[in-house]
Symmetry: C2
Subunit: 118 residues, 2 copies
Amino acid sequence: MRKLSSTNYYNQVYLEDKCALNELLYLLSKRWLTEVLFSIEEGNNRFSSIKEDLKHISDNILANRLKQLEHYQLISRQENVHEVPLRVEYTLTSSGTKLSDMLDQLCKFAESEVVFPE
Amino acid sequence: MRKLSSTNYYNQVYLEDKCALNELLYLLSKRWLTEVLFSIEEGNNRFSSIKEDLKHISDNILANRLKQLEHYQLISRQENVHEVPLRVEYTLTSSGTKLSDMLDQLCKFAESEVVFPE
DNA sequence: CTGTATCCGATAAGATACTG
DNA sequence: CAGTATCTTATCGGATACAG
């Protein structure tokens, strides 16, 4: 449970405090996270439909990414408590939508301007 | 030297192939990388001046980040071979400059729109 | 001055099994 | 259906020592 004894953890906090960009990039770089965001934007609003859309993602990781996106208020989660089986729906928040737009731009940049090795 | 036996490595390659955005985000999320990019943009064009600017970075990591930025042609490296002691200068390429602009935007978004937990 | 080589602890992705 | 818990293996950041 202990974080790294010293500099490793300290530097992470230092950089996240220095600029919000670092924290955002750290979040966005988690594998599958942007894919989940885009999948919800495209209308897959259930756990199972996202999982089906992103064929290779595991339950484990999908649940974790949904939690993180919700935690940062990029998506919202509506649980219909009284239905059996349990039915949960995810939708993008307004900042989630804005982020998705910015990532589209960044994606176009990546595809057109960045020289990827090999 | 072996990569992960199976799915872990496979998924990384799959996602990077699926969209260049994933590879770019994976690069950008490496600790200190955007800080190094911004530091060079602000005029710190020597190994030692970047190191001084980013007080807590280690030689190890700085060298690695410079190599990666150069590898993706976001910065260029000019070595003045005949000087002793060795003198090397780094500058942003045109795509490095564009990336820096897009990151500025993303940073403003992060600071104004994203709700960070706690 | 501008790096490289080696080692170590912490974290991340994924496999598998299980739950309300 | 929508997750949680536990475990394994790979990779990352940083410390330290050294080199051209």
